[in-house]
């Protein structure tokens, strides 16, 4: 397992990669301002290998990315883990594409995968631009930090001239306003309910799929996920891709984004072992699916915690 120090910005990742340092250190959740998300990680991985954005390069990055998720274990902020999963799914798509016989790019599925790759890199490039411009912001702020604006109270002779302030409300309205101002605001959230979902195991979902597929022989992705939603759908999708890699299923899809048909080609008995690349090791204590850590407190505290 390669351990990275994400302090590095993309361009200098090569110089600052620390191989073999304590992994407990490098994979902390509170990487905070040093490292935050999948795009950041992807760029770091790409830069570390000084790779061209080619399919071959990508496969290396894919493996490392997936290993990273795996290594992160239950420590991940669930919100981030979910985002990781989405990017991971895209990457696994691309990895799956590599497994296809070469020279058959006419296949629409292949084209769709190539499009997915282009889209992913377009987004990476966009993110990289913002990351770089953020560095410009930091530089400007650093240059400004030594300048203090004059902000003093007005000389009494002028303050006395200020027009009478119109409060425009009486004691009762004022009290109502105070009550509103003193009531704790609801923490703004965007549909984070799914983050409270219990941890989903790709391996478990694969077992569910195997049972179902052995029974029905052919089915559609829609049917396979009719009884679940959210992360579970993603997990079953990932499980399907793993089964595909094991040669246990084949896919048929008439149109891009059309109905995905699945046919069982595996054995009728015995365990079908899928790699649990996406599964977290069992949590040390029950209840990792509880409270979502406060993102910003972690970031704030990491300000002072930082060394070097």
């Amino acid at each position: 397992m390669t351990v990275l120090d994400y302090r590095a910005d993309v361009g200098r990742a090569e110089e600052t990669v620390h191989e073999g340092t304590s992994s407990a250190d490098a994979f902390r959740v509170d990487l905070g301002d040093l490292f935050e998300g999948p795009f950041d990680l992807l760029l770091s991985l790409i830069a570390k290998h000084k790779l061209d954005v080619t399919e071959v390069a990508l496969s290396k990055v894919t493996d490392e990315f997936i290993a990273h998720i795996k290594a992160a274990g239950p420590e991940w902020d669930l919100g981030q883990a979910t985002e990781f999963l989405v990017v991971a799914a895209t990457l696994l798509d691309l990895k799956a594409a590599r497994l296809l016989p070469s020279g058959e790019v006419e296949d629409e599925e292949d084209l769709a995968l190539l499009e997915a790759r282009d889209l992913l890199f377009a987004r990476l490039l966009q993110y990289r631009a913002y990351k770089q411009v953020a560095a410009v912001f930091a530089g400007r702020m650093a240059a400004e930090v030594g300048r203090f604006p004059r902000a003093v109270s007005m000389e009494p002779q002028f303050a006395g001239l200020l027009p009478e302030v119109l409060l425009g409300l009486g004691p009762q309205e004022f009290a109502a306003l105070a009550a509103r101002a003193l009531t704790p605001r609801p923490v703004p959230t965007v549909g984070m309910d799914h983050l409270h979902a219990p941890t989903v195991s790709v391996r478990e979902q694969a077992a569910v799929l195997v049972t179902s597929l052995r029974r029905s022989r052919t089915t559609t992705f829609r049917q396979l996920t009719a009884d679940c939603e959210g992360v579970l759908v993603v997990a079953r999708f990932l499980a399907l891709l793993e089964l595909y890699r094991e040669g246990a299923v084949v896919f048929e899809q008439a149109d891009p984004l059309g109905e995905l048909h699945i046919r069982w080609t595996g054995s009728d008995e015995g365990d079908v072992e899928v790699e649990d690349e996406f599964d977290e090791p069992p949590p040390p204590v029950a209840g990792t699916s509880g409270d979502v850590p406060e993102n910003d407190t972690a970031q704030e505290s990491s300000d002072s915690d930082r060394t070097g």
Binding site: V10, G32, D33, L34, E36, G37, P38, F39, D40, I46, H49, K50, D52, V53, T54, G79, Q80, T82, E83, V87, F121, R123, L124, L125, Q126, Y127, R128, A129, Y130, K131, V133, A134, V136, F137, A138, R140, M141, A143, E144, V145, G146, R147, F148, P149, R150, A151, M154, E155, P163, V187, P188, V190, M192, E294, N295, D296, Q299, E300, S302, D303
Partner: protein, 211 residues
């Protein structure tokens, strides 16, 4: 024009104090324009636009702008402990950066806390995409930005700017940068943000991404 517009904005405001000795700027008995500007800028606690200064001094905006620039240049050349700077749509006195160490302990508001990398990146996306929803910023950054956005709002760098059009009460909240953000970056306005294009690689250099 300006005066009218301004009063229209504050219909409730009726100045009643008699300004006895305004005279004319530059008259023998009145101060020069530059002097009057220096005095006014001494009492402001936020950047003041040259339009308002022109209105108060009853001089053309061009002339006021010229005077402000010459004052700023003069302070710089003389190496004064203060600077006159044009930021966030207006003019304001600042201490000179070389004196920071001496000034710090007198500044009530304290040192500006440093922003995290995550906050900086989120701020950059908001600055270039504003007004923008959290979901859009999340999509660009590839991670959830709820916590970071809250931090930026708390720091006064970002503020809410209504809701996504046509979505009504339930629509996503949109965010934009504040004038405090401009001041922190020393920018006159959003249009002074560096162009993003040079940071996006040319199509044929995409392959060199990592180099």
């Amino acid at each position: 024009m300006t005066e009218q517009a301004d009063h229209a904005d504050h219909p409730e405001h009726q100045p009643e104090v008699q300004l006895a000795h305004l005279g004319h700027l530059g008259d023998d008995d009145g101060p020069a324009l530059r002097t009057a500007l220096e005095a006014i800028l001494m009492v402001v606690d936020e950047p003041v636009g040259e339009m308002l200064l022109a209105q108060v001094t009853e001089r053309p905006t061009d002339e006021v702008l010229e005077a402000l620039r010459s004052l700023a240049a003069e302070y710089d050349e003389a190496g004064r402990g203060f600077q006159l700077r044009q930021v966030a749509g207006g003019w304001r006195f600042y201490t000179r950066a070389t004196c920071a160490a001496y000034v710090e302990r007198f500044v009530l508001d304290g040192q500006q806390a440093r922003l995290t990398q995550a906050a900086l990146e989120t701020l950059a996306v908001v600055a270039y995409r504003q007004p923008v929803s959290r979901a859009r910023v999340s999509a660009v950054r590839g991670v959830n930005v709820d916590g970071v956005m809250r931090t930026l709002v708390n720091r006064g760098l970002v503020e809410e700017a209504g809701r996504e059009a046509g979505t009504g009460e339930g629509g996503s909240i949109l965010y934009q940068t504040t004038s405090h953000f401009l001041e922190r970056l020393g920018l006159r306005g959003i249009d002074e943000l560096p162009d993003l294009a040079p940071f996006l690689p040319e199509l044929d250099t995409v392959d060199d991404l990592a180099n």
